[in-house]
């Protein structure tokens, strides 16, 4: 009993029905907000109404049982409304000040930490990685978990850092984890040319599409068998785009796949405005499930940032102020030629003249 065409295309539920009463009443009439404590924001409306956001982290996946428990809390304190955030936290909009601590208690009782506000570690954005995707070079969810274990307290602390830190983890360079503009980003990287499995390519893939897909024009039809392809090893830079089109070009390799570390991205227009994250470590091996070395290096960067940055200075703003050569010096991260751009806009990243720190 398939839906007919005119029953389709009806779109998302109407938000008007989903707004908490305090939001509806004070819609567009909010006056100011204050950070009360970790995970809690007080909003005051022109009407004098108050609303308290209690923000809590939830795992990347939640079971029905969990959702229902979250709903229980929302019904108890928030008139049956619940919000989620753009960083995938849950948000309880609590109209009564006196209920704030109860909400916190109930949510934390579920094991979900309340935090991620103000100058704390924000929720880490992660893609699905090995839990669902076919292209990952690494596993975002377990890396994210490992980082959260390390930075647990800093998630809950409004004054953990000079400014907020936003981390993101993507299993591959598709960057679904929105890594490219994060303060600290971890991105899975392949390092070997895909293997062409002729039989699969012949059967399932379009050779012209494959050829067009490669940003480096590294794919050519195979001489003698034009139904499959060969890869020019000198040109391929392991992006995996061909594989995502065609099963016959597997690129995964447990031995060579791993992660890269990037820092200094930012989205908001505050102060100097948005920045892209930049590559500082091209490769670290995959070490599930606890990712000790990745965690260690992130911890080191964070601690140095904490100790050195000025107040209200995001990681990228701090590094841009002191200079990247200084950053590499004080973090003692070995500088590799991989950090030197050689793509299209590369020349813009080269230093012009002699204005560098000798270090």
């Amino acid at each position: 009993m398939v839906l007919s065409l005119d029953e389709l295309d009806f779109g998302p539920p109407d938000y008007k029905e989903f707004l908490p009463p305090v939001s509806k009443k004070n819609y567009g009439k909010w006056k100011y907000h204050e950070h009360i404590k970790g995970g809690v924001i007080k909003h005051v409306a022109e009407s004098g109404d108050e609303a308290y956001t209690v923000r809590a982290a939830i795992p990347k996946y939640v079971a029905a049982e969990t959702v229902n428990k979250l709903c229980d809390i929302a019904e108890k304190y928030c008139e049956g409304y619940i919000k989620f955030t753009s960083r995938h936290n849950v948000s309880f909009i609590v109209p009564k000040a006196k209920d704030v601590d109860s909400v916190i208690k109930d949510v934390e009782a579920m094991g979900f930490p309340v935090g991620g506000t103000d100058h704390s570690l924000k929720a880490i954005i992660q893609c699905v990685g090995w839990t669902h995707c076919h292209t990952p070079a690494t596993d975002s969810p377990s890396i994210t978990k490992a980082l959260y274990e390390e930075f647990y307290d800093e998630f809950k602390d409004n004054n953990a850092f000079p400014e907020r830190i936003k981390m993101a983890v993507s299993g591959c360079i598709n960057m679904c984890g929105a890594t490219h503009a994060s303060d600290i980003a971890i991105i899975g990287m392949h390092r070997k040319v895909p293997t062409v499995i002729d039989e699969i390519v012949e059967k399932f893939c379009s050779v012209p599409n494959l050829i067009k897909s490669c940003p480096k024009y590294a794919i050519k039809p195979k001489r003698g068998n034009l139904k499959t392809v060969v890869i020019d090893e000198e040109k391929c830079m392991y992006c995996g785009i061909c594989y995502s089109l065609c099963e016959g070009m597997p690129i995964h390799n447990p031995e060579y796949d791993g992660v890269s570390i990037w820092v200094g991205g930012k989205v908001s227009n505050t102060r100097k405005g948005p920045l892209l994250a930049r590559l500082i470590i091209p490769f670290m091996p995959n070490e599930p499930p606890h990712w000790e070395n990745v965690v260690k290096v992130v911890r080191k960067i964070v601690d140095i940032y904490k100790a050195n940055a000025e107040e209200d200075e995001r990681v990228g703003e701090w590094i841009e102020r002191i200079g990247w050569e200084k950053f590499f010096q004080i973090t003692d991260i070995p500088f590799s030629d991989k950090s030197i751009d050689d793509w299209i806009f590369s020349v813009e990243t080269y230093r012009k003249g002699t204005n560098f720190k000798m270090v």
């Binding site: 009993m1 398939v2 029953e7 295309d9 779109g11 998302p12 539920p13 109407d14 938000y15 029905e17 989903f18 707004l19 819609y27 907000h33 204050e34 909003h43 956001t53 795992p59 996946y61 079971a63 029905a64 969990t66 959702v67 229902n68 709903c71 409304y81 919000k83 989620f84 753009s86 849950v90 909009i93 094991g111 930490p113 090995w130 839990t131 669902h132 377990s142 978990k145 959260y148 274990e149 647990y152 299993g171 960057m175 679904c176 929105a178 503009a181 099963e247 447990p254 796949d257 991205g265 989205v267 908001s268 227009n269 505050t270 102060r271 948005p274 920045l275 892209l276 499930p289 299209i344």
Partner: protein
């Protein structure tokens, strides 16, 4: 020794593996454990799955060990604007999902969709038919308009210069067919933050960003400002990126001709400072992750535009640009890359002119340094 997957249940931080177990999704637990052991994914290409009449929105996925896990598709449901839910409704969604899937939910995908995770092929149709009854639609994959995203805006935040939620709803409905039926060279993402704080990361992640903004003066309540420690006021004055603030005799002055409305001071003095009254939005174009030539942050296309229902002008602009891109775009070429390839100047000549988007210096941080420009047909007589 514990298996790696159980290792991930340890620690203070809540575990997604535990959630899988609660949901009883054993196949996923097992296949993932293999992945952790083998250090590689065990998922592979998924094949074509979906709902008749829709060509997008279900991500088909198969594992490479069908004996452990068969198909495990994902629904990308269009989230309610600003991710606000009524629990009553949410509980019903969960019930449907428990019936047909595993009850496992991802709140939300990185684009913003409500992701219903792990359904087998044969359950897709009945599941959606029940979700539809609850008025939950899905969409967004392939060369289509993706699920939009809007910040909570006027519902909870004092900074919003536009009605992000209404705009989300209106644009989603305007483009609902394009959300369901890919027809473009590649994806097209729209995100709507209410102010330049950009709480939905539109600047980094949307081909077309509608960022609430204002163009008159920041409103200052000098009396309330005095409640803030002077030290803090001086810090902000000092860090203002354009040095356009001054604080003398307990009075804050902002030279609006030089302010870039970066939000920093407003954020720091939420009680005393407010965006102006002449509200609208800034339009950025072209952001996305890596593409084929590297990540782009969205660049200023329209410094300021009024944004009022029914959003006719905004829609005209979106459609105009989409049509142009649809015509000239290469496969897998997003709009920013297409403009780069064709040239911003030519883009302005070919489509900007028609849409009333004029070249203005706000579009750039600095003018060109090379002498290689073009004259358009008719320009040099």
């Amino acid at each position: 020794m514990t298996r790696p997957v159980e290792e991930l249940e340890k620690g203070k931080w809540p575990s997604y593996v535990t959630e899988w177990k609660k949901a009883g999704y054993t196949g996923l637990v097992e296949i993932y454990n293999k992945a952790l052991e083998d250090k590689k994914t065990h998922f592979k290409h998924g094949g074509m799955v979906g709902y008749p009449g829709y060509d997008a929105g279900v991500i088909g996925r198969l594992s490479d060990m069908p004996e452990i896990l068969g198909s495990s598709h994902v629904f990308r449901m269009l989230e309610p604007a600003g991710w606000f839910y009524k629990t009553e409704s949410l509980r019903k969604v969960v019930d449907v999902w428990t019936k047909y899937g595993n009850g496992l939910i991802n709140f939300h995908g990185a684009t913003g969709s409500l992701q219903l995770v792990g359904i087998e092929t044969e359950n897709i149709e009945p599941a959606f038919e029940e979700l539809a009854k609850l008025h939950y639609d899905f969409g967004g994959s392939g060369g289509d308009v993706r699920t939009l995203a809007a910040c909570g805006g006027p519902a909870i935040c004092e900074y919003s210069n536009i009605d992000t939620l209404d705009l989300y709803q209106a644009l989603t409905m305007r483009f609902i067919e394009d959300i369901h039926r890919p027809r473009f060279p590649y994806k097209w993402k729209i995100k709507i933050p209410g102010c330049p704080n950009d709480c939905v990361a539109a600047t980094a992640r949307s081909d077309f960003a509608i960022i609430g903004n204002f163009r008159d003066a920041i409103k200052i309540d000098q009396n309330i400002l005095k409640e803030y420690p002077e030290e803090k006021i001086l810090k902000v004055v000092n860090k203002c990126p354009t040095s356009c603030m001054s604080y003398e005799n307990e009075k804050l002055d902002i030279d609006m001709g030089n302010c870039t409305r970066c939000m920093y001071c407003i954020n720091e003095f939420s009680k005393a400072l407010r965006p102006g009254d002449d509200k609208g939005a800034t339009i950025l174009i072209g952001a996305r992750a890596r593409g084929r030539i590297g990540a782009f942050l969205g660049w200023t296309l329209i410094p300021f535009i009024k944004v009022e229902a029914p959003y006719t002008r905004l829609i005209e602009i979106i459609v105009g640009i989409q049509d142009w891109w649809d015509e000239i775009g290469n496969p897998k070429e997003r709009v920013g890359e297409a403009i780069y390839r064709i040239g911003f100047g030519k883009f302005l000549f070919e489509v900007g002119k028609e849409l009333g988007i004029d070249p203005v210096p706000q579009m750039i941080t600095r003018p060109r340094a090379n002498p290689f420009w073009f004259y358009w047909p008719g320009e040099v007589e």
